[in-house]
Every structure is written in structure tokens, then in C-alpha cells.
Subunit: 158 residues, 2 copies
């Protein structure tokens, strides 16, 4: 089994090369692997699908969950051609795979013009200091959704 992570990463990198070269898509790809088997693959589809959330990891996570019929990736590994951006890192935490392997670093991506560090820095700022203003509006009904959730019989936590 030694060397397998490397071969899955090489597969992800090859998909990323093909996505950029053949489709002009973002040069990123990811695999979800369970028990040594590829469950799903994803490539960056942001511009081709007009979907800013269609990063490789998100695409692969969504496809893997469809394939597994569950909203969690327990016992799975994610192999990404590049270190995940903050959005994808959040998606990874919600999907809860066992671990993540990646090849290129965020610094490599930044040198290629894909600078996630801006978003990483923004997350650490207070809302009022962010480039995209985040405005809390006190709303009397704000807690009603949580009350409806607590009152719902058979609700499924996630």
C-alpha cells in the first residue's frame, strides 16, 4: 500500500493538467478515495459551470456524497492537486473525511495567480474591517428558525 497516496495525488494532478489544457478550466482537481478505491473525482468548473463554488474539492465532495448516498465522508481520504482554499477547507470540515493529502502549496498557487491568502486574512478580520461588508441587522424573528428546528420531530443533525 506504500506509495498509494502518491499515485492518487499524481492522478489528481493529471486531471488538473487536463482541465486547464483541454477545457481552460482552473488548474485544480481532487479525488475522494475510500478503502483504496476512487469514489469520485472533481475538477474546477467555476468558469465552465458559472459556479464560483465549483472548486475541485467541492465538486469531488458533492460527487462522492452522491455516490455514497450520505452527507458525510467518514473513512474517506481527499487527494487534492493543491492545498485547499478557505471555502474548500470549510467544506472539508463539514464533510468530515479522515484526512487530506495535497501536492502544490498555497504559496505555489499564489505564484500562479490564485491567491487564497487574501481570503484567509479576511476571515481573521472583524466584520467591519472586511473588504465585503458583513452587516448584522437586529431582526425580531432572527431566532424563529432555530425554534422551528428544535420543534421538528425526527430532525436529522449534520
Amino acid at each position: 500500500m506504500e506509495g498509494e497516496p502518491q499515485s492518487f495525488l499524481e492522478r489528481a494532478i493529471a486531471l488538473a493538467v487536463a482541465n486547464a489544457r483541454d477545457s481552460g478550466g482552473g488548474p485544480f482537481a481532487a479525488l475522494v478515495v475510500k478503502d483504496g478505491r476512487v469514489v469520485a473525482e472533481g475538477v474546477n468548473l467555476v468558469t465552465s459551470a458559472n459556479d464560483p463554488t465549483a472548486h475541485a474539492e467541492v465538486v469531488a465532495i458533492r460527487a462522492a456524497c452522491r455516490a455514497l448516498g450520505h452527507f458525510q465522508l467518514e473513512g474517506c481520504e481527499i487527494y487534492s492537486s493543491c492545498e485547499p482554499c478557505p471555502m474548500c477547507l470549510g467544506a472539508i470540515y463539514w464533510a468530515r473525511p479522515a484526512r487530506v493529502y495535497y501536492a502544490a502549496t498555497a504559496a505555489d498557487a499564489s505564484r500562479a495567480g490564485f491567491d487564497d491568502s487574501f481570503i484567509y486574512r479576511q476571515i481573521a478580520l472583524a466584520h467591519g474591517e472586511r473588504a465585503i461588508p458583513m452587516i448584522a441587522l437586529a431582526t425580531p424573528q432572527a431566532l424563529q428558525p432555530f425554534a422551528a428546528w428544535r420543534a421538528k420531530a425526527g430532525r436529522k443533525a449534520y
Copy 2:
């Protein structure tokens, strides 16, 4: 126009209540608004769609981009029933709306059992200290995707 943000937020909250009450879905909803008009709505579909990335903001952003035929939400506002989690915050930065309004705070969500603060804290940690291990594997091909991207004529930056 005074008071409009409040009414869009109230609409988002009503959708969140309905999603929890009628579908047993996560008690969250979001709208994308452009020029005072609702472009798209989204509710949390994590458990119903088996998609851990289907948070209300992500669903609304994807639907709005489909409706607008573009992968950016320039000049749009997002109204969320609740303060965005790190994944959604990342998605917001990639979609680049003008601003975000929200009603319930992360602290409100945490008290209701939806604790994003764990992920916010994880993002700030070094890779080796994270609950989900992030493992960089030096791979000779790691930079090939970026080379393919730079070599691609007519590539569309995002």
C-alpha cells in the same frame, strides 16, 4: 428604500423557518438580491440532498449565478438568516457580492447546536494541529497544472 434590507432578511428567516418545519432541513435560508429584486433563494439542503456543501448561502449563490449566467455576483447583496460559516464566507469571497446582511449571529447558531466556531478556530491552526490532518506530499508534478494554465490561450481568470 429604507427598510428594504429588513424585509429581505425577514423573507430569508421565513424561508428558514419553513425549511426546518416542513422539510426537517437545517434552519437556514439566504437570498441574493440585485437592484432591489430577488435573483435567487436558497435553503439548507445538506441532509435532503446528501450534500454537505449545500448550505443556504452556497445554494443561493449557485442559483443566482445560474440565473445571471455569470460566476460573479457583482452589485448583488446576500441576505442570510444567519451569520455565514467559514465555508460560506469563502464562497461569498469567491462570488464577490457587494455586501452581506444577516440576522442571527454565530453565537445564536452555536446555542442552537450549529457550532461553526470549531471550524473558525481550526482554520487558524497550523496544518499539523488540525483535527482533520492536512498532509503535504512533495510531488514532482505538483506545478504542472499551473504551467498548463499559463500555456492555455483564452483562459478565463476568476
